[in-house]
Symmetry: C2
Amino acid sequence: MSMDDLKTSRRGFLMSSAAAGGALLAAGTARAEGADPLITEVQDWASGLGDGVDATPYGMPIEFEADVVRRNVPWLTADPISSINFTPIHALDGTITPQGCAFERHHSGAIELRKEDYRLMINGLVDKPLVFAYADLERFPRENHVYFCECAANTGMEWAGAQLNGAQFTHGMIHNMEYSGVPLRTLLEEAGMDAAGDLSDKWVYVEGADASSNGRSIPMEKALDDVLVAFKANGEALRKEHGYPVRLVVPGWEGNMWVKWLRRIEITDHAVESREETSKYTDTLADGTSRKWTWVMDAKSVVTSPSPQSPITHGPGPLVITGLAWSGHGAITGVDVSIDGGANWQKARLAKPGAKMALTRFYLDIDWDGSEMLLQSRAHDETGYVQPTKAQLREVRGLNSVYHNNCIQTWHVNTDGSAENVEVS
Amino acid sequence: MSMDDLKTSRRGFLMSSAAAGGALLAAGTARAEGADPLITEVQDWASGLGDGVDATPYGMPIEFEADVVRRNVPWLTADPISSINFTPIHALDGTITPQGCAFERHHSGAIELRKEDYRLMINGLVDKPLVFAYADLERFPRENHVYFCECAANTGMEWAGAQLNGAQFTHGMIHNMEYSGVPLRTLLEEAGMDAAGDLSDKWVYVEGADASSNGRSIPMEKALDDVLVAFKANGEALRKEHGYPVRLVVPGWEGNMWVKWLRRIEITDHAVESREETSKYTDTLADGTSRKWTWVMDAKSVVTSPSPQSPITHGPGPLVITGLAWSGHGAITGVDVSIDGGANWQKARLAKPGAKMALTRFYLDIDWDGSEMLLQSRAHDETGYVQPTKAQLREVRGLNSVYHNNCIQTWHVNTDGSAENVEVS
């Protein structure tokens, strides 16, 4: 087909379109500008050359997507060194989170640690205390798994009311990557766990190489189950901010336990009761007592679009409602979506069957009538658990909590397609 | 646990290690330097602060991984504008390929196309020719799928003999991403395919917006089966070099048909026989005739490590052999690995059950005796097909081919752990 042929068939198309009554833009007949730019403003055929394959040995997003980045909320913490940023989940689709825009949380900043300088110590109640170099870890049998990592404080600002205006900020302390690494069980066995005797009451205490050390105690049962000592995420080396060269992956459990720059694992006969599991990462109830060892992230979901940062940009008609669901207790089995603040629910379509401790993408394709909506989603997991409302959660937990807010989120969508974060009773 | 406690327990560990006879480095006792640097050179505890969460809104790989990038082979083509680069598969693990290091192939360079300027035309034998704006595409029901994309010329330089020294260069014209998009079937139905009558002998002709247009004909049966009009890869917008904002995804079929910057889809009653499917992307046999419409990528595999760019850096003992397998005909059902040039085969472990038209990661964990190896892998797919040897393939196809070389690859691993690309008879 020559360029002349193309021009001919294009002219043919424009004529036939005109004949068909201007049905040029399919679902988008209600686009803001109203007119079809093709009629008044015919695009040139591309004739210039683009960039060669040597332009970017490692590529970045195109400039037009420059707003799809991690964002910080400056007032949230005293200093960015001990703060958090948020994954732009409102702008993503599918389930995999690219490392470059996967949220970070640091307690003393992201440190730079060379593979050559990296050491991992296993000590405590073991036959032979060991120190592994990075190259040693690469010699043990590896596994691959996709898991979500959610900060326990995700949605934490929402306990008191609707505060942050956007899914990135209310629910963006989460990412979902394919990890490659060695089961922790393998390394513990290498060190000889028999010395510990009965393992049922033992713990591992894990520490990072950063100044905070971020030590956490993990019950041995979990340590031997599915915890990974990971060195790759989405195929490539962990990024510096995600713990290069080695981090712990603790499927379904709060992100604080996924220790980055993993330095030491001690087998103990007790929980260490570190700062990170006493004064932090516990949930203070209404009566002043605190829930402790609240490791597992309960089932949760959020509509990512439409949402405050991802408004509807067209009029009534076909609309894709989409979002993410996940559970630290296993696979998501279903997601319901409501457009009227929970009065009625429709079953959303899952893009794939739910997988254990991994994000599930859901869609609800509706014919929007252009009226206001109170958009909600509600996750179900394989244990039969159903995501609670904010009122239900507050009834049990009170208003003092920071962590483990997995309540149903509501977006108020206006007739012009804009949306905001609201509470419904 | 205070810093003092940590110091105490660390001292305790060093003493106990000494008592245990210096068994400090586990599998890595044969590390090149021999001595344990921890004994002579105790690392400082991290005490300085790292980077805050505002340091990199969009992150890049750490500087120490600067060699894990796409690479071009300058002599391969006349100009980088119409050339190809290679995914660093030798350095990756798992199955997902990050967009930033996923190979590129351009026919007239990677072009910059704004979403606002983007239009997709469907014309030809349809009831109502349509032009979709980008925002229109977002209003149709979406799907998510992980698929590999392999250039038909992947491994093409190896037909004549072992030429390129590294898995990145012999097999790196492949990537594997999670796509989000609209089934092509949905858009064709929107345009009213009934006008075409019997669909069994119809085709779609697809074009890109770049100067090459890179037009290809696709039989209607495939177009209606699993082809996606995709706008996201691994969650985020397609990168410029992968067709931003919209590319075609043609699962299991040669990468040339995955048209980038997708501009036009015409329903026709014949194949267009474009340049890209006549003078190119056909396979010339020994007798001078050419195979045509060789769309599907046959089952194939390669050991990615050890390999010339990923040598063994330690002595005898535990060694992880790993690689990738894939088939355009469906799921990988098994991979065999040989360390003696195909005389004996061992069943490799698949990291996950094979998925249709997606990369499968395999591992074989061996106790390397330190002697030379002739490393090979052999893929099996769900159709019962077994990846052929180079001799078998040459017998059928001769030596004139460029495309569709899916033969078994051999790496010669030396006693010092280095490796090179060789042929075995």
